[in-house]
Symmetry: C2
Subunit: 455 residues, 2 copies
């Protein structure tokens, strides 16, 4: 038995040879003299065309095979370079292994993304979702390979956590009870789903220097937008003895390596998405990989945005001043209009960033970095961490965080600590960017959003 | 600045060269004429010995550096093949970058695993845990690499689920409420943490043929044993068009490949664990990788266990009959005494296995497989899946599962389905086996067990 993937790899050598394959019927039509069946076994993006004629063993099986049915075909591989596909299989035996019901929901017509979300367990069989999930898988592997090749330790930080310092109010509670008597609960206290593995990873960076997380994270945020899901995957590297500039170098290197890796691995998939989902996708990806990312300080960005307003540009939020939490429209203007390149914005006001970010000498800004990318805005957020115990405690207090709830984390600064930096990359956001998928629900396998928990 | 890992790779070339390194002090002692400091930057299991003398730049910094402090050393690399380590660094400059407090909890003496669990954020700095987490990281990578190399798609199945068919009563509830009015909850219904990604993965195997999950899974089981944790990672491959025998081949291949991969990658770590944690560990691993796994049917195993009892062997559970759910003592007897090899036990009684397993022609057993391994018993559990819709419904009903709660899964059998098989491998269980760690709490980064949620 051959896999379709193998046949695509070796078709020149297989010319004229007899092969057998099991696959799913994608289409099946009877011509006057010859019948055509298109099948795929899931191992290749491109399909296999099968031609068969009356009189072959199992002709009946062939003609009655409905879309989605499983068939076993034995035939001779013929090269057909002039026919739009490099080869086809001339069948001399067909066996219908399992007949699909007539009411199979994915018939050949086009389906809306909304309809396909209702059959998320089947949508990977469509070309678009097949391409997206294949790219998803290769992108995940590229991320692991990037870090593993460079000596980073994969830190599988916990999903259930007792830290509520970050994302308070946006965390799901994990419980075995039907009430709020958490002192009697499984863990003897309230537990939540993690919103970030960063704090746990930081501790491991003190042991291994270079670590990364790659796992699911959660937000109980009641936002029904195309960018938000309650469950999504994050990558959070952390490097000890490294500063903001090292962090910037790492971000650019990671993005370029992983995007280039999948781009080279998934040629057929990207061509399909470029033709069917986002025209110009391939050029966009090439641009990302080949461009030199730029760096602009937050203060500089504010001035540039103020100038844009002065010169007549209209933002939805037109009051631009130091302290503004940049919205996507501002972020996109910075990287699309001003820099015309992916842009690192650094040194944000401390009041709009997290307590653990290193306070700069100006006492107003922190050593934070966001990577802004044309088309979407923020793709990555990171920082150098505050290494000074006393300053860190002060920042906790300013932000209304009780230091005693995080003493294990804060104490890392007492046990030998010299610079640490890291960032968070939303896996689905990167995936949306490189696939052209507009809604996060369509890059997740089974999306979880408010009032939506199918499957 | 050099990383220790690089120095170990290139030390022959670096002889006599000046290098700089930042690292953490592991020990520091003053001799009469010369001082010795052992440092490590986290990139290498083996440490770096630094020798320094009065008069060098920063001698004061050197002598006052406490254990765990961060130092920057510049010096000349000297080869010292007769001294028990291949090289040392003769320092001519030392800078104390961050002084650790005197009360640093990890001083040089031995610490109990129980104490170290209370400082899980620091324990990766000890040799034993450093070795375990490094092996953990490489084992995770080996698993991804094994599947990716073979064309499997990584299916990141959901963590939050609405399916309660499996593991009912053992699932954590996920909620934003403090009561049980789940119809008003975030998802508009009760949601739980996944106990397995298998059902979701099965649907994806129908699109890609070969898929695998590798993610966290959860059990709200109130068992305080050395083998149980509330949160752990599972690997669940699923292959369409494949049967029980294909499944067995895949299990053996995956285990041997991944164990061999980490064994070759983590030489220093395994030597340390063999010397300090489990004597004979390396031989055990070599045996696993080189042995031919055997297969015994459940019915045959029952007869062999009955014979053992007849011949005077005492099990805690001595009533051996068809239908018995084998305990670890039985499993170990089968693979350690009878077969003296890792053993696949197949064709279990249907009543002690899950509803989705394929009913054999005898109508009494199912096409299940467990891999039993000397020393621990069950390491892997899997099966060929029931492909017949009507039989599957009947099995649901026999097991008290409401088919309407799983219609999306059951319906896969209507939409073209011909054989599918897969298995679940507990990541931590495999890791415990190959590291010699006796308690699952000590292979997890931050373990979660009943009444225990630190960090």
């Amino acid at each position: 038995m051959k896999e379709l993937q193998e046949i695509y790899q070796d078709f020149a050598k297989l010319e004229g040879k007899e092969i057998s394959i099991i696959g799913r019927v994608r289409s099946n039509r009877q011509g006057k003299n010859v019948c055509f069946m298109v099948i795929n076994d899931g191992t290749s993006f491109d399909d296999l065309q099968v031609v068969y004629k009356e009189g072959i063993d199992g002709f009946e099986d062939g003609t009655k095979s409905r879309v989605a049915s499983i068939v076993e075909i034995t035939g001779t591989l013929l090269l057909t370079p002039t026919k739009g596909q490099p080869f086809e299989l001339s069948a001399h035996k067909i066996e219908l292994l399992d007949q699909a019901v007539e009411s199979y929901p994915l018939q050949k017509k086009e389906h809306s993304p909304e309809f396909l979300r209702e059959i998320a367990h089947l949508r990977a069989r469509t070309k678009t979702f097949n391409a997206v999930y294949k790219i998803r898988s290769e992108l995940a592997f590229a991320i692991h390979k990037y870090f593993n090749d460079r000596g980073f330790i994969y830190a599988q930080t916990p999903i259930i956590t007792g830290n509520d310092a970050e994302g308070a109010g946006e965390a799901f509670t994990v419980t075995t009870r039907g009430d709020d008597k958490y002192e009697k609960d499984f863990f003897g206290k309230q537990s939540t789903l993690t919103v970030s593995g960063q704090l746990h990873a930081e501790a491991f960076a003190q042991a291994f220097k270079k670590v990364y997380t790659f796992g699911p994270t959660f937000r109980a945020e009641n936002s029904n937008t195309s960018k938000h899901a309650a469950e999504f995957w994050m990558i959070e590297p952390e490097v000890a003895f490294s500063d903001l500039q090292d962090n910037i170098v790492l971000i650019e290197s990671l993005i370029k390596y992983t995007v280039n890796y999948v781009f080279e691995k998934c040629d057929a998939e990207f061509k399909f998405l470029d033709a069917n989902l986002e025209a110009g996708l391939i050029d966009k990806i090439k641009n990302l990989v080949e461009s030199k990312f730029k760096t602009t300080s937050y203060s500089e960005a504010i001035k540039l945005l103020q100038n844009a307003v002065k010169n007549g540009h209209q933002f939805e939020e037109n009051k631009i001043a130091f302290g503004l939490d940049l919205a996507t429209e501002h972020e996109r203007y910075i990287c699309e209009v001003i820099n015309q390149a992916p842009t690192f914005v650094i040194d944000y006001p401390k009041d709009i960033k997290a307590f653990y970010m290193k306070l700069n000498d100006d006492h107003q800004t922190v050593a934070a970095v966001d990577l802004l990318v044309p088309g979407i805005g923020e793709l990555v957020g990171g920082s150098e961490r505050e290494g000074d115990y006393d300053k860190l405690i002060k920042r906790c207090e300013e932000m209304g965080i009780d230091p005693s709830s995080l003493d294990w984390y804060l104490n890392l600064r007492k046990y030998g600590y010299f610079k640490s930096a890291g960032f968070g990359l939303g896996f689905e956001r990167l995936l949306m960017y490189i696939t052209g998928v507009a809604n996060i629900r369509d890059v997740l396998l089974y999306p979880r959003t408010p009032n939506n928990l199918l499957f």
